[in-house]
């Protein structure tokens, strides 16, 4: 299974539910295009829900960083929600866990954008 992305709006926060694999190829390019599309539509508050992500490689990590930079440089905020152990371990080992604003609770994450 490759990656599946679906976006919903909660107030002024765009929540992107990501499921499947974020790896080199289709998975990472789909995430990149989705984030660029939101930035082009002037969405400033983006919450990536990674709860259903089964696999991520260094390319996928690179896409998370790229998305973070793109959104931040456009004056917005990108935050992460529901990291499973696998994704959390990878972000910790690459020292990116402290770069991202990571949440376990969607309501709290939504409120944190205010």
């Amino acid at each position: 299974m490759s990656v599946k992305l679906s976006t919903r709006q909660v107030g002024d926060v765009s929540v992107v539910d990501v499921a499947g694999r974020i790896t080199l190829g289709e998975g990472s390019s789909a995430l990149r295009e989705s984030l660029r599309d939101m930035v082009s539509k002037n969405r400033k508050k983006i919450l990536l829900n990674l709860g259903e992500v089964s696999y991520i490689d260094s390319s996928g990590i690179g896409e998370l960083v790229s998305g973070f930079t793109t959104v931040t440089n456009s004056g917005g905020q990108l935050k992460l929600l529901n990291l499973n152990k696998r994704v959390k371990d990878l972000l910790q080992i690459t020292k990116l866990y402290t770069v991202f604003d990571v949440h376990d609770d969607e309501a709290g994450a939504i409120r944190s954008f205010a």
Binding site: D57, L90, K95
Partner: protein, 146 residues
């Protein structure tokens, strides 16, 4: 004695096309062998990711997706020692002068973490240039009784 494997030994060897499908295939082969060797789920994840990153380097950076170039993949287990070798036919790659992805100035780079992850997840990682061209990497991990 013939070619029968010794007890506790198993190996697989493939010549693979320079495609992303080959990356998936090699990862599946390596993880399957590692599972039979007795690694737990956490180590299987680490082995799978390390093999994936190595295969991506061979297919993308080494052979540059060339249909004329192959990736040689082999995996073997002998006792507690699990080993994977991956060789491309590219220009050769210098593994000795890689930027540190954990350095503050590099944290927000979008690439450059693959080798770091391989080294973090395997017990040993070696790379050498091949004559007349290409790069071969060797990944080793030992089964640990838990």
């Amino acid at each position: 004695m013939g070619d029968f494997p010794r007890p506790g030994t198993e190996s697989v060897e493939r010549s693979l096309d320079s495609t992303l499908e080959s990356v998936d295939h090699a990862e599946d082969l390596a993880v399957g062998l590692a599972r039979r060797a007795g690694f737990d789920e956490e180590d299987l994840m680490k082995i799978g990711l390390a093999v994936r990153e190595s295969m991506v380097n061979a297919v993308v950076h080494g052979n540059r997706y060339s249909a004329k170039k192959k990736v040689r993949f082999s995996a073997s287990v002998s006792g507690r020692r699990f080993m994977v070798r991956i060789a491309d036919e590219g220009e050769g790659f210098d593994y000795t002068h890689l930027p540190d992805p954990l350095a503050p100035d590099n944290l927000l780079r979008t690439s450059g973490r693959g080798i770091f992850l391989i080294r973090s997840f395997m017990d040993d990682f070696q790379a050498r240039r091949l004559d007349p061209g290409g790069t071969e990497v060797t990944l080793v991990k030992f089964v640990v009784s838990k």
